[in-house]
Symmetry: C2
Subunit: 272 residues, 2 copies
Amino acid sequence: MDTWMRFMSNDGGVVFGRVEGGYLHEYESLEQPVPTGAVLSTRALTPLAPCAPGKVVALWNNFHALAAKLDKPVPSHPLFLLKPASSVIGAGEPIRRPAGYAGKIVYEGELGIVIGRRCRNASIEEAAQAIFGYTLVNDVTAADLLNENPHFPQWCRAKGFDTFCCIGPAIVSGFAWQKAHLTTTLDGVERQNYPLADMVFSPAEQVSLISQDLTLEPGDMIACGTSVGVGSIKDGATVTVAIEGIGRLSNTLSAAGAVTAGAAAAAEASAV
Amino acid sequence: MDTWMRFMSNDGGVVFGRVEGGYLHEYESLEQPVPTGAVLSTRALTPLAPCAPGKVVALWNNFHALAAKLDKPVPSHPLFLLKPASSVIGAGEPIRRPAGYAGKIVYEGELGIVIGRRCRNASIEEAAQAIFGYTLVNDVTAADLLNENPHFPQWCRAKGFDTFCCIGPAIVSGFAWQKAHLTTTLDGVERQNYPLADMVFSPAEQVSLISQDLTLEPGDMIACGTSVGVGSIKDGATVTVAIEGIGRLSNTLSAAGAVTAGAAAAAEASAV
């Protein structure tokens, strides 16, 4: 298992690499994981989302326990929507309530698959090889928008707002998801605790089947879907998604317009 | 009005610029439209999709005539889904039937808005300024997948396959869409002919409203939605979308596995 992170350095540049004992061993990129030879103390660096996905494929109804609770049949092919790159933030960055939206905002703790190499029509074996590693996802939804229009379910809009795809803090390669549990806490109170082994489509199956539809690129992400225990976040509350061996992803929901100047500046810098 | 195109040069590089009288006046990029001073004959260049959008926001139910035909109320906010960057192809490139899908494939001729500058919470005036120009879109759908699963409408999957977002051949800046008509022909037979003035949300309104939800980046596209006359494409048939002043966008549907070696090589090269 290796732990990979992305940081902003003091000069505003972005560095990526393997983190060990408080040091970043810099690599060219996720796509070309070749060491540059540079070793930097992580104390001098500002953490960013661990990758910059071109697209995020987000699965719906991919856990047996949730399917049973919703009384829906398990799907025969991954059911997914897309979250845009513009929705991605890293650990510690604020989730921003959309201006003009006073409704319910919902967390979903999920395992994230990070793609390491271009992937099209991949077999299960090729798909397994194309997985760079795993991260944590909080797949945020403006729940009241989803069915606001009775003629068109607004999955992409409700889940696509800026800051609505929290990922991080790290990508862990070689991670054995099969025996892991994911927990989500809301202001420290456990709300989700489910075994990843309950997935309908395994990570390699997801990558293989989705790659029959659309080409996956290095850095792209698949959010594996959530299980039972989803709930709403009040303004000011903090959601923490955790998997032992990957880490803890915490993000706080800010009321509209309530983002601090520092956080806004960091978000601006990381988006450049 | 200026006409902007993107090409592959003989050395495999990508060039972007203003086209006039058979020559490309090269510019740094769509984001930084500064002339490089280079002038190239377009005869030595291979056309590509005119931009490389990070995301494509595709509107549903944005024409009064179509809303009336579908007997749906006109929406109060743009209703959209996202098509991934991996679905984009240029004029002349083949639409590929997904392997394992024998169902109906549908064309939709649309106006495309190309974003020129980063756009977040834009007013109508700022939104109008952020539009780089307009292009043509064939928003392709694997229609039988849309409601294949009764519990989850698969908009992103049905419209997100590789090659399902045809755009081009050019971006025209300063284009007056208000008086223009869009036509779509199928193997030369006219199937759509509708006035763009029938749009529910104008281009500047679309950009402004969508930028309240998600940050639009230079090169991103909005497909403005289609009107009446949508229909299915048989394998081997050619769809041509045209607007006088922008040009003609033609793409042929290839049966699965039937893409010629040359087209596949061109697609591979343009994807690098």
